[in-house]
Symmetry: C2
Subunit: 343 residues, 2 copies
Amino acid sequence: MSHRPLDPRKELILKVVTDDYIESAEPVGSRTIARKYNLGLSPATIRNEMADLEESGYLKQPHVSAGRIPSQQGYRYYVDVLMQQQTLNEEEQGLIRLYFEDRSRQLDTILQQTVKILAQLTRYPSLMLGPTLQPSIFKHVQLVPLSATDILVLIVTDMGIVEKKVIAIDCPISQANLDRVSYILNKKLRGRPFASLKSSVLNELKEEIKTEDSSFQQAITLLLSTLDTRERERVYLDGIINILEHPEFKELEKFKLLMELLEEEERLHRLLASRRPGLRISIGEENPEEAVHECSIITANYEIGGRVVGTIGVLGPTRMDYAHVVSVVEFIAQSLSEFLSKS
Amino acid sequence: MSHRPLDPRKELILKVVTDDYIESAEPVGSRTIARKYNLGLSPATIRNEMADLEESGYLKQPHVSAGRIPSQQGYRYYVDVLMQQQTLNEEEQGLIRLYFEDRSRQLDTILQQTVKILAQLTRYPSLMLGPTLQPSIFKHVQLVPLSATDILVLIVTDMGIVEKKVIAIDCPISQANLDRVSYILNKKLRGRPFASLKSSVLNELKEEIKTEDSSFQQAITLLLSTLDTRERERVYLDGIINILEHPEFKELEKFKLLMELLEEEERLHRLLASRRPGLRISIGEENPEEAVHECSIITANYEIGGRVVGTIGVLGPTRMDYAHVVSVVEFIAQSLSEFLSKS
DNA sequence: ATTAGCACTCGCCTTTCGGGAGTGCTAACA
DNA sequence: TGTTAGCACTCCCGAAAGGCGAGTGCTAAT
C-alpha cells in the first residue's frame, strides 16, 4: 500500500479531479478545473498533467472526448494520501449521540437501528456483522423440555445475547435430570469466556460425569456437542434504496447484481467476515466478491469492553464520498462500542 | 365481491385477454386473440366485444391504438370467477415436500427458508408475518441477572419461540429472590395459553404476592408489566429482486417506491397484519398501502395445532400469475402448518 | 348478428444531425 | 524548458424526423 509519491502539482490535480467527480458524477475536464478551482494554471497545462496522470494509471477517460475520472489506482492514491480527514458536523454528531443516549435495551434492535442511522447519515447501504460469541462470557444455560423428544437449549452471554437451539433426543429425560444437567453446567461454565469452552473445560466435564447414569450422560454429551456448533452471526442491513440515487446504478443490470448479493445473507457474511480488523477501505476489484467490483466498501470494528466483536460498514460506488463516510463509520463504530461497553 | 355475471362470450374474451396479458405483459389486440386462441370469432367481432368490456369497466387501453389490458375491476372478475384452479406440478410439490422433510429445527431458520422457497417458486417477492404469541402456550420463564441493574427475562413457548427482554431495576435483587420469582411464575403460568395471561392470572398473582417483601414485589411487578408488552412479530422477506423481472418496474421510480416499503419492517408489518384471515387476494388500489396501488398481494394463513398464528404471501404487479401463485401460497401455507404442528 | 375492408391513430424504433464539451498537437512565448 | 493560446478533430448526447406496425372504430355487405 505504499505509493511512489507524485509531484505536488500532479497530486493537486488528481485530488481536484477526484473531489469533483465524487461530487458531480461527471467526468471532469481541464476547462472545468481551471475555471472552478482557480489554481493559476491554464487548461492546457492541466491537460498535459492529466495526460501524464492517465499514462501512469491514475486517471482514465470513459471515451476519448470526455473528461477524466479516477481509475482504481487513482482512488487508492486519493484515499491513502490526498483525502482530507473530516470531522462530523455538530448536527450529525448530535444525531448519533442522541440515538445512543437512551434506547430500547434489546441488543437486536440496537444493532438494527445502528445500521439504519449509518445508512441515513452516509446515504449509502450499510451493513453490520452481528457480535461474535467468542469473546463473550458464559452466563447461563437453561434446558426447557418442549415435548417428549425435543429440548430447547438456551445459552445466555454477559451481553444478553441469547443463543437457542432445539435438540432432539431419543429417549425422554426426566425433569429432575434436566435440572441437574443445567445445574452442573452452570456451575462449571458460568463466568468463563466462550473462547475457552471448546477445549479443556469440556473435557473436564466429560471426565466428571463418568460416574453418572447413562441417560444423564447422554443428555450432557449431546449438549456439549451443540455448544460449539454455532450458527453464523447475523448480518444487519439497511438503506439499500440509497444505492439507486447514484447514476452508476441506473442500468438495472448493475443494480440487480448487487441486489442479488444483498439478499444472500451468507455471501454478505462471507464478505464482512473476510475483512481485516481496523478501519478498512477496499476499492473496486480489491474486493474479493465479484458483485462489488465496481463498488467500494468501508468498514470498522466495534468492541465490547475492549474486545473486537463485530464489523460495521458501508457499501457504495467507487465514486464514493470517502472522507465523509470514513468519519461517519469511525464515529458510529466508536459510539456503538462505548454504548455496548458501558452496560 | 358479488358480480353481475357477464354473458359467456364476454367472459371468454375477458379471460383470454387477461391470461394473455399476464403471460406477455403486452396489451392484447383482437387480431392476436383471433389468431392465437381460435375461438371461431373474427377480429371484428372480438373488437366489438372488447369495446363493450371497456365501456363496462373490465378492460382498458393504455393508449388509443394499442390493445386492451384488464382494469382492476377486470382482474377482480378474473380472480373471482374466471380463473382456473391450478394444482402444483410434481416437481414443485416435490421441492416443497423435500424441504419440509427434514430441516434445521430452528424456528427462525425454518420461517426464513419457507419465504425463500415461496419466492423461488412464484418468482415474486414473498413475505411472512412471524407467529404471534397469542395462541401459544406458556412453557417457561427464566430470569438471568446480567449486571447489578439489568435482568434478562426469557420466556419460552411450547413452540420453542423465545422472547427475550432486558429490564432495568433500581436496586439489586438477590439471586435467591430471582429464583423464587422464576419458580412462582413458572408454577403459576406453565401450560397456560398466552391469550389468558393478561387478565385474571396476573391479578391472581399480584394478590398472592401481597405478603412478600418489597424488593420481591418490585421484581415481580416489573416482570408482569413486561409480559404483555410484546414487540411486534418479525417480518420475513425474500426474493425482492424478482420484481425487477417485470417490465412494470423498469422505471426506477416505481421500483423505488416499493423498495422503500420493503425496507421498512413496520410498514410491512402493518400491511400483513391488516389482512383478513383465509386466502386473500387484493388487487391494486384495494390495498390500503399506497406504495402497492399497482400491485396485488396474495396471502394465506398458517397454523399451529389448528390455531392461526401467522400470514404468508406474495407481492407482485397486478399483472400477476394469480392462478399459479394461489396454488403455491396455499400449498406452502398448508405444508408449513403441518410441519409446525407435528413437532 | 357477424365479418371483411378501410382509413386513421399513435407509440416506438431508427436514423439523422447539430451542438457542445473535451482532447491532443503545434507553435509561440517567458 | 515549462506554459499557454489556438485550432482541428473526436465523439457523446439529445432533439427532430420519419416510417413501420399493430390496433382501432366505422361502414357496408352477408
